[in-house]
């Protein structure tokens, strides 16, 4: 028998209430950590973009293509080391719920991204096959695909069923980089597009510049060069391009933070109510403890310890669950949010929120218990 025994025994007094409170706290903290992790990952997308890469899209938006004829002129511009291009294919594998990103790319594009790690054998096999594809390792696992297998994608932009042969598997050369995409030859897309009268265009260009300090000037030069053309451009660093994607979500940071805070506030109220009820029900027992010689401080510590246990268990459930799901099991919301990982900062934030809930919910009942006048409480019981 120790003081901890007393605290644990008190927590077991109303098992259902304790379990429900812990579950409620756990779910709320899990939600908070998930929202913050999503937000953190989204913000880190901006950090992923390279300063030496310029992305050139149609000024009207990424869904509008650019002429393939731009490539030669872009390549000739001063300060441009190489030019790659890619197009969004938008193919569906068997069912729209099996969504994953699939792009047509030229060889130069793949060469620009050392993060896309492919073995020399796979790269060679891919280059040799007109309908070949390179697939991310997690996408391979998701559908149980094998190298050499033919995969049929149903076109949404380019109608019909289109076959691709998996010739290589890529993995991410850096943590957080996507491993769930499919890349195939742009020349194969051109064949498909030619049959449908949509050839001669690309989705976007990526320019590798020799000096990142010149990136802004080159971007300006590109936009000025095509300002009065039928397809004006918008050139920006890859970082800015990625951030503009985030911008498409609107002020998502504000909304996610607001939801997270609302959840925390709600659970704080629930937790405070539970602690208050628990302490109030035991005023007579607290009076007995004081009669035995427990001080106001002893009683206060017991009530706070109970709150700490409840919040600690909720934190273990919520934060532990999120870490297990995202950091250990690499859960990516069905490919929607790859690379989610609970950062130390988010974990520390959740710990702080837990501490706040424990302190705030225990403060009033602990003070009431500490200030309880023994004779009044005993008279009430008797």
């Amino acid at each position: 028998m120790t003081r901890a025994t007393l605290v644990r025994a008190n927590l077991g007094r109303h098992k259902r209430r304790t379990i429900l409170t812990v579950l409620g706290l756990g779910i709320a903290l899990f939600l908070f950590v998930t929202l913050q992790t999503f937000l953190h990952t989204l913000r880190s997308i901006g950090d992923i973009g390279s300063e030496t890469h310029l992305v050139v899209t149609n000024k009207l938006g990424i869904v509008f293509p650019l002429p393939m004829a731009y490539r030669a002129r872009l390549q000739a511009m001063e300060g441009v080391e190489s030019v790659g291009y890619a197009s969004w294919f938008g193919g569906i594998y068997q069912d729209p719920s099996n969504f994953f990103a699939n792009f047509a790319v030229d060889p130069e594009y793949l060469a620009m991204y050392p993060e896309i790690v492919v073995s020399p054998e796979h790269r060679e096999a891919f280059m040799a096959d007109r309908t070949g594809a390179i697939v991310g390792v997690r996408l391979m696992e998701r559908f149980g695909w094998q190298v050499g297998q033919t995969v049929t994608l149903q076109g949404t932009i380019y109608p019909g069923n289109h076959d691709f042969t998996i010739r290589g598997v890529y993995s991410a050369g850096r943590k957080g980089f996507d491993e769930t995409s499919l890349f195939f030859h742009h020349r194969y897309l051109e064949e498909i597009a030619r049959n449908q009268g949509m050839d001669g265009v690309v989705g976007w260009y990526v320019l590798k510049v020799t000096d990142p300090n010149q990136a802004a000037a080159i971007a300006q030069a590109v936009d000025e060069a095509y300002e009065n053309s039928a397809s004006p451009t918008r050139a920006q660093t890859e970082k800015a391009f990625n951030l503009s994607f985030i911008g498409m979500y609107g002020n998502i940071g504000f909304f996610l933070n607001a939801i997270g805070m609302a959840v925390v506030f709600a659970i704080l109220m629930v937790s405070a109510n539970t602690m208050a009820m628990s302490a109030r029900e035991r005023f007579s027992e607290i009076a007995v403890l004081k009669t035995l010689g427990f001080t106001d401080g002893d009683v206060l510590r017991i009530v706070v310890a109970e709150a700490a246990w409840i919040v600690g268990l909720g934190l273990a459930l919520g934060l532990g669950g999120a870490v297990l799901l995202f950091n250990v099991m690499d859960f990516d919301m069905g490919g929607f949010a790859p690379g989610l990982s609970v950062s130390p900062g988010v974990a520390l934030g959740a710990f702080g929120i837990g501490l706040l809930i424990a302190t705030a919910s225990a403060a009033i009942p602990a003070m009431q218990a500490a200030r309880l006048k023994v004779t009044d409480a005993l008279r009430y019981v008797a």
Binding site: R13, L292, D296
Partner: protein, 253 residues
């Protein structure tokens, strides 16, 4: 020198703007090893006096000395420590902690002593053996009869070998047979272990077990039926229950 000296004690409760006097200039001496019964009608001040002796409340004026220590002017923290060392309290409604076993309930006051876990357990087992409940030590209060619960409460009161055992109507909620057992137990603690006991009761039969009976009416002592003080030798610690506990030496006086 008496163990307990109460001098000119007044206790006035304030209800809004109205002052209600409960004890009015009370003087009382209680000797070491005495078994004292406090009787009187409801509202006469019996429980108030008991609470003052336990240091659970403080007098409006006057002085209370127990074992030579003035408790009426002690700060709350020091008073709590004093209570843990010197007072064993037995309630009418037993007031055991329902989520703890009998053994754990008895161990509870020992958490405030420097004893280690093993020693605490040994002392609690000894106290339960003294009250005849060693077979029920792992039972929860709900698994015990009223009489057994009160015996656990008495074990909790004696486990620290206190100077003073204060019992507030300890048989008030029990049937006749259980009440008799509790009175026998209190009598044995007084006679065999020399414990000083102050018991509040409404029951004249229970009061007969005490060596001395005091009657309180409207906060004033109106009668003092004294019999010889029990000549009990050795404290509970002598039987091993409170040895090493903080209050051991005082209890043995």
């Amino acid at each position: 020198m008496p163990l307990v000296e109460v001098r000119d004690v007044r206790k006035v409760y304030r209800r809004d703007t109205v002052e209600v006097p409960v004890l009015d200039g009370l003087n009382l001496d209680i000797e070491q090893g005495e078994f004292l019964a406090l009787m009187g009608p409801s509202g006469s001040g019996k429980s108030t006096l008991l609470n003052l002796l336990a240091g659970l409340d403080s007098p409006t004026s006057g002085s209370i000395r127990v074992g030579g220590e003035e408790i009426s002017s002690m700060k709350p923290k020091r008073l709590a420590a004093w209570r843990a060392r010197h007072v064993g309290f037995v309630f009418q409604m037993y007031n055991l902690i329902p989520v703890l076993t009998a053994l754990q309930n008895v161990e509870l006051p020992l958490l405030l002593t420097p004893l280690n876990k093993k020693q605490r357990r040994e002392h609690a087992e000894t106290a339960l053996r003294i009250v005849g409940l060693e077979e029920r030590m792992h039972h929860f209060p709900r698994q015990l009869s009223g009489g057994q619960e009160q015996r656990v409460a008495i074990a909790r009161a004696i486990v620290t070998d206190p100077t003073l055992i204060l019992a507030d109507e300890p048989t008030g909620d029990l049937d006749a047979k259980s009440a008799e057992e509790i009175l026998d137990l209190l009598g044995r603690l007084n006679a065999e272990y020399g414990k000083t006991i102050v018991m509040v009761t409404h029951d004249p039969h229970a009061a007969e077990r005490a060596g001395r009976t005091l009657h309180l009416e409207k906060g004033v002592l109106v009668g003092d039926g004294a019999r010889p003080v029990a000549a009990g030798a050795g404290a509970v610690s002598g039987a091993g229950a409170g040895a090493g506990a903080a209050g051991g030496e005082e209890g043995a006086r």
